[in-house]
């Protein structure tokens, strides 16, 4: 579903690479957790997958389409929720969702059914007629999630999706992720909450200083020499400390 081939990115004026020679493949039916300390390159990688940044080297393929060469086809396959969804504050929730519905070409009947389902699930039905600027951060997050799920994307990409969600919504959201992959779809998300990754992900990748330093199932990571029985937290700390976090 996602294939990154030798992807590198260095921001203009930066002394180091944000992402360096990243090779990664995420298969259909997988929930893939992308972990790393602050500034490790998680968001840069996600932005390259969704077409918000262009890699300096390498290719990003989504559902077989090159994100840069066949942008529209690739984007049709995915739904994206950024870490801080910046939605049009002066549209109502319903107007925003209808805009997304129109852009993805979702017919009226399907749209109504899905909107009803997700708005009820996220308890946004009553607020949907209000301006987005009147929403709390959690409500904006849920609206962005609804928008990203509206076209039932084959690939669901989320940057720190649990931030701003209350425990109930967070639980609900994990269920949505599981349901989504049960239908053969893929979920790719970044997170700092290691417990969530441990519970939810089929595979995790750990990135540090722009390089993928570990990737596999929890069992595979634990089987690496000297790490038998380690928790994900311990593994993460050991791996990222070795590399040295760039945080000051």
């Amino acid at each position: 579903m996602i294939r990154l081939q030798g992807v590198s990115k260095r921001y203009k004026g930066a002394s180091t690479h944000a992402v360096r020679s990243l090779d990664l493949e995420v298969k259909p039916g997988e929930i893939f957790g992308f972990l790393g300390p602050n500034g490790a390159g998680k968001t840069t990688t996600i932005k390259m997958i969704v077409g918000l940044l262009k890699p300096d080297q390498g290719r990003v393929l989504v559902n077989g389409h090159d994100v840069n060469a066949e942008a529209v086809a690739a984007k049709h396959s995915m739904g994206f929720v950024p870490d801080k969804p910046d939605l049009y504050p002066r549209l109502t929730g319903m107007e925003y969702l209808n805009l997304i519905g129109d852009v993805y070409g979702i017919d009226g009947a399907t749209r109504r059914r899905r909107l009803q389902h997700y708005l009820e699930m996220f308890q946004l039905t009553e607020a949907a007629g209000d301006l987005i600027q009147s929403y709390s951060r959690g409500m904006q997050q849920k609206l962005a999630l609804t928008g990203a799920l509206l076209h039932a994307p084959a690939l669901f990409i989320l940057d720190e999706p649990m931030v701003g969600l209350d425990p109930k919504s967070s639980h609900l959201f994990k269920e949505i992720m599981r349901d989504h992959v049960a239908k053969g779809n893929t979920v790719f998300f970044s997170t700092h909450v290691l417990e969530v990754a441990e519970q939810l992900c089929h595979r995790v990748g750990i990135i540090n200083q722009g390089e993928l330093i570990a990737c596999g199932t929890m069992d595979e990571l634990r089987k690496s020499p000297g790490r038998a029985g380690s928790s994900l937290e311990k593994l993460f700390l050991e791996l990222t400390d070795e590399g040295g976090s760039d945080e000051k």
Binding site: Y11, A18, A71, D86, R90, D102, G105, L131
Partner: protein, 555 residues
């Protein structure tokens, strides 16, 4: 299901003009219902004046032009005006909408082609040009049509010209912007560019005003028309060279009943289509790359200079004063709108000094050099007071915080302390800004030092009391819901109310000074200034004690 480009266009239009926001606040929440009435009452007369001016000017130019064989001169001037305004402001609108807007990270991951985003955004800017056209071009076209008895062909051509004319300047502006953004990553210098653009705009506005005054300046409209008509051939020739579409438009309208008119309309349509095709191709090839380059603008791990950790402590009061001052001055959106008055004043005085003569300079006519010392004192105090309102620093102080207001709300400070810091910060900027203009002016007109010092002291006292009231005004109805910081100052009614109230105070003071002149009691001016300051200060202080805390807790 709507077409996706149409749907995006409607959504952007909605966001731009705030239709849903208006419906939500005025109809659903029943809040700020008086706002549209106040806006209509303030803008309405200006629009009526614009319509009337276009109507009358068209008639006069048409009548006068008939004898010169140039009856369609008003059309050339009208279409040129719309085109030039469209090209100049369009460039800034396009840059701000294409590259500096916050919605690109939302739109780029959607399955939209580059040109689709471009067209939807361009469409929104175009509607703004139609609004301008509706008040300048439409009355001109209608009046001309009635005078020239245009008939149905004229109506068809007029409608087409109205719709097509703003397209060409906007397309040119867009092509320039798209190319510029492709090869220069301007987003990294967004703040500097806003500042340079704003200063450039001021220079152009004042330069052109000065040029007009030097070259065609006259108080008599008939003399102006005569001058324009006497240079009509040259004017049309020059315009034709610089911007042919305005001449095509005028010719199309002027000769609507014969082949010349339709041929010119064809040129206009052809140029628009060619422009749109070029823009489409550039949009597909270049726009997205420019936007993506913009996303990287301020990112990246750069090598930072080692900064010494500052452990020096300051009083909370002074720190807040300096923070308010820095936040205002460092944001070009605030600084350009707020500090423009301080720049304009000396520039207005200095520009004519470099000209051929001082004739026509209003300050020369006022004979400022021969003023009574106490009138100078009163005038300076009045200047300080008007400028503090014009700066908008006190009247938008809480509004400018927007979503960051929580920072100040979380601090262990009383609202009285916070308000005091806001007044001092505003006064700090105001005093420096006013002195910047005042010192050269005092030198030019030979005012004595004691007059300037006394005027400055009274000015600081009076303007501080006014600033306190303006801070209180903003506290009563802060405009916190904004994304674009310009809106916090430019679209803020508190700034307008503040300016209006201060102008009324200025008129009142002016009237009192007039009475002083008449009754030869100019020595009373300092006492009057003190009395008014005392009244405003104590009234404001009492009002603040009564309501400030309630208002602060209500936000």
């Amino acid at each position: 299901m709507r077409n996706r480009v149409w749907s995006l266009f409607l959504a952007l239009l909605n966001v731009n003009y705030g239709w849903s926001a208006a419906k939500y606040y005025y109809l659903k929440k029943r809040q700020r219902v008086w706002e549209p009435i106040v806006i209509a009452a303030s803008i309405g007369p200006v629009l009526v004046m614009m319509l009337w001016f276009s109507w009358v000017m068209t008639e006069q130019l048409f009548m006068a032009g008939l004898s010169f064989g140039q009856p369609h001169l008003p059309l050339v001037i009208g279409t040129l005006m719309v085109a030039v305004v469209g090209l100049f402001f369009g460039f800034f609108y396009v840059l701000s909408s294409f590259y500096f807007s916050n919605d690109l990270p939302t739109l780029v991951p959607l399955p939209l082609r580059s040109w689709e985003i471009l067209v939807a955004k361009l469409g929104v800017i175009l509607t703004g040009q139609y609004v301008l056209g509706a008040f300048v071009l439409v009355p001109m076209i209608i009046r001309y049509g009635l005078l020239a008895r245009g008939g149905i062909p004229y109506v068809v051509i007029a409608l087409t010209v109205f719709l097509v004319l703003p397209v060409i300047p906007l397309v040119i502006a867009s092509i320039l912007a798209v190319l510029l953004m492709r090869f220069v990553n301007l987003s990294r210098f967004k703040d500097r560019l806003t500042l340079i653009g704003g200063i450039l705009l001021l220079v152009i506005v004042f330069g052109s005003t000065y040029w007009m005054q030097e070259n065609v300046g006259t108080d008599d409209p008939s003399v102006l028309i005569e001058r324009v008509l006497s240079q009509a051939d040259g004017l049309i020739y020059s315009i034709g060279r610089v911007f042919p579409p305005s001449v095509w438009s005028a010719q199309a309208l002027g000769y609507a009943t014969n082949a010349t008119g339709w041929l010119n309309l064809f040129y206009l349509l052809l140029a628009s289509v060619v422009g749109l095709v070029v823009l489409y191709l550039l949009g597909e090839k270049v726009f997205l790359q420019g936007a993506l380059a913009g996303f990287e603008g301020s990112r990246g791990r750069r090598k930072h200079k080692q900064v010494e950790v500052q452990g020096e402590s300051n009083s909370a009061f002074l720190t807040l004063v300096h923070t308010e001052r820095k936040l205002f001055v460092r944001d070009p959106n605030f600084a350009l709108n707020g500090l423009v008055g301080y720049v304009l004043f000396p520039v207005m005085l200095l520009i004519p000094l470099f000209g051929a003569s001082l004739e026509g300079n209003p300050f020369e006519r006022l004979d400022l050099g021969g003023l009574h010392p106490f009138l100078v004192v009163g005038g300076i105090a009045l200047f300080f007071t008007l400028m503090i309102a014009m700066s908008m620093i006190p009247s938008t102080t809480f509004s400018r915080e927007g979503r960051y207001l929580w920072i100040i709300r979380g601090l262990p400070l009383s609202i009285e302390q916070i308000m005091a810091t806001r007044v001092v910060a505003a006064q700090m900027v105001n005093t420096i800004g006013c002195l910047l203009g005042l010192i050269p002016v005092s030198y030019l007109f030979g005012w004595r030092i004691w007059e300037v010092v006394l005027g400055t002291v009274f000015g600081i006292i009076l303007s501080s009391t006014v600033a306190y009231l303006l801070v209180l005004l903003d506290l009563s109805r802060p405009m916190l819901d904004w994304v674009n910081p310009v809106k916090a100052v430019k679209s803020n009614l508190n700034a307008i109310f503040g300016l209006l109230g201060t102008s009324i105070l200025g008129l009142l003071l002016g009237f009192i000074f007039y009475l002083n002149v008449q009754s030869q009691t100019l020595w009373l001016i300092p006492f009057e200034l003190l009395l008014i300051s005392l009244l405003l200060g104590s009234g404001g202080w009492y009002l603040g004690r009564q309501v400030a805390w309630k208002l602060w807790s209500k936000i």
